[in-house]
Structure formats: C-alpha cells, structure tokens
Subunit: 178 residues, 2 copies
C-alpha cells in the first residue's frame, strides 16, 4: 500500500490475510490535524485490456462473477503476479483469456477501482493488430470463459455492467478509435 | 449480495464485519459442475454524480484517500444509506459535498466497481442545471473536501486517477455533452 510522507500513520492492524487481498484497519493524521480511521482492502493491483478488432468490435469474456451473482461481459483482466510489470501481465492475460496476441499494446490509463476503501490500482491497455494463437488457451483452473464480441456502443447501451469495461468502451468512442 | 438461481451455494462464512463492508468466504457450484471458492467484499452500494457546469467543466472534490495514499480529484460520491434510493443518495451527496442542487439528474449507468471480488454496485448520475445552495455544506465529520473544477479532457489527460471519474469524463466526451 502506498504511503504519503505528509500523512502520519497512527495505527495499523491486519484483520485478515486472504488469497487475493488483505484487510487492514488503520488510523492516520492528515496535515490539518484531522484523524481518519479507515478499513482498507489491500490488493496487489491488476490489469485490463481492451482488445479492439479491425471490425471495430471489442473481444470480450463472459463469465460468472459471484460478487455480482451473475454472468458478466467484460474486457479481459487479471491480477498482477509477484514482480510482474503491468505490460507483461496484460500480454499474459490477453493470451490466456482470449487466445490472441497484440501487435500494438498501448497504456491508456492507470486508475484506482474503488479508492474509498480499496488500494487496487488497475492499468488499462488498448490492444490492436490482434492475431489468434495456434496453441490452446490456458485459463485458470477454476475459470470458465466464453469469448464474445461487441461494439463499444452496445457495451454502453447495457451489455457491460462493470466500470473498467464501460470506461474502455467510452474512451474508444470519445477518441474515435473504433 | 445478489444470488443467482442457477448457482448452488455450498458454503458461506462471514470472516469480518466492518463499518463499511463485510468479507465473506463462499463456495459455489456453477451449472457446468465447476466449483469456485471465492472471497468477497460485500458492500452496500454507492452513487456518484458528474456535475456538469454550463462552462463545460465538471465540479469535483479533492480529498485524501488513504487506500491510494494520496489526494485524489474525483466526482462526488458516497455510499447508499439504509433504505435510500440511488437517486435520493445522489441528491444528498451532491448537496453535502458540493453545496449545489441539480435541476436535472439523469442516470447514466449502473455498474460494478470491481466484480472480481467486490459486490459494490454503483449508480452514476449526470447532474445539470446546477444551482448553489445558500446554506453551508454538511460533509461528514471526518471528511476534508476541496472543490475544484476541471474539463473532461483534463481529467482523461491525468488529473483523475479513479475509474468512476474517468468513466464520467469519457462518456461526457463520447456523447458530446460538454
């Protein structure tokens, strides 16, 4: 978790160590003297990839998301592995989840998913010049992914239901990329 | 947390009850037979508001976010209170955080902030015809907010660092609203 030199850490208790994230309970004092008590989900960070086909469609994955209690259509995404750069993670996740490699991979944004309570920082890449791989996909054992294609307009019109996928679709339209 | 009728819940343990969210450890079986073990941050849901001024600028709040270890510029946002509708929460948060009321408040999207591990569902509203209130603002006791204005282009160019604010800026540009 990133620390700011002007903010005094008064207390830090780790309440939970999970497979994907920890939960820490901290108290801090801001430069103004204000004290804040905060419960934080401490997350290693992640990447997501907007794979833009020559047709103007995005290559997406549909999967069950238990936190949403539903199957969602999303841009490919995944957590950073230990010591892995965001670019290397984006190349790996694109390959594992879609079976494609990108000729061009451009970082669009780095952002916090939910900065009110979660340290997760996400890098969003635009992937173009996509080529299918010969070898079979190697998704995680407990993942069940279906590949789908959709235009950015369809995603904004209700087909996508998560922030990173809506953001990818909106920025592609705003910049006239599709 | 939303449940899907086709997904069998095998086990549910609440590991932590926090002020803002709980953490639950669950196992489920999908229709295919696949079993998933998932650690979920169970969150009550939230709203955010893109307050668009007649100048084409957005009215934003700058505040310290301990999860990010930094001060961030974001669209106003806040959690749903018990039994509160997203629209009522958006009106309340806009008033508390910016001291403005909106003549027009339009729902743009409902989305999950981080569906891989968090149940938080967020409603994004576009607020227009903004009018300042006479009375003082009534932010939460442990909040310290500074109001700033920025154009959507500036937010996408690096001034914003969180998903909801980037999404608000990108969709305003994509739809030619500013």
């Amino acid at each position: 978790m990133k620390r700011h030199p002007d903010v005094e850490l008064l207390r830090s208790d780790t309440l939970l160590r999970g497979r994907i994230f920890d939960v820490v309970d901290e108290s801090v004092r801001l430069p103004s003297g204000l004290r804040q008590d905060v419960l934080i989900v401490d997350h290693p960070g992640a990447v997501c990839i907007a794979p833009l086909l020559a047709t103007g469609e995005l290559l997406l994955v549909r999967q069950y998301r238990h936190a949403a209690g539903d199957w969602l259509v999303e841009v490919p995404a995944g957590r950073l592995e230990l010591g892995e750069s965001p670019r290397a993670a984006a190349e790996r996740e694109l390959e594992e989840e879609t079976g494609h490699r990108a000729g061009r991979l451009e970082l669009l944004f780095e952002f916090y998913a939910a900065p009110g309570f979660c340290s997760e920082r996400m890098s969003l890449f635009l992937a173009r010049d996509l080529a299918p791989l010969d070898s079979a996909r190697a998704a995680d054992d407990d993942e069940e992914l279906e590949l789908v294609r959709a235009r950015p307009e369809e995603l904004l019109a209700g087909r996508a239901a998560d922030a990173k996928t809506l953001l990818a679709a909106a920025v592609i339209l705003a910049r006239g990329l599709a």
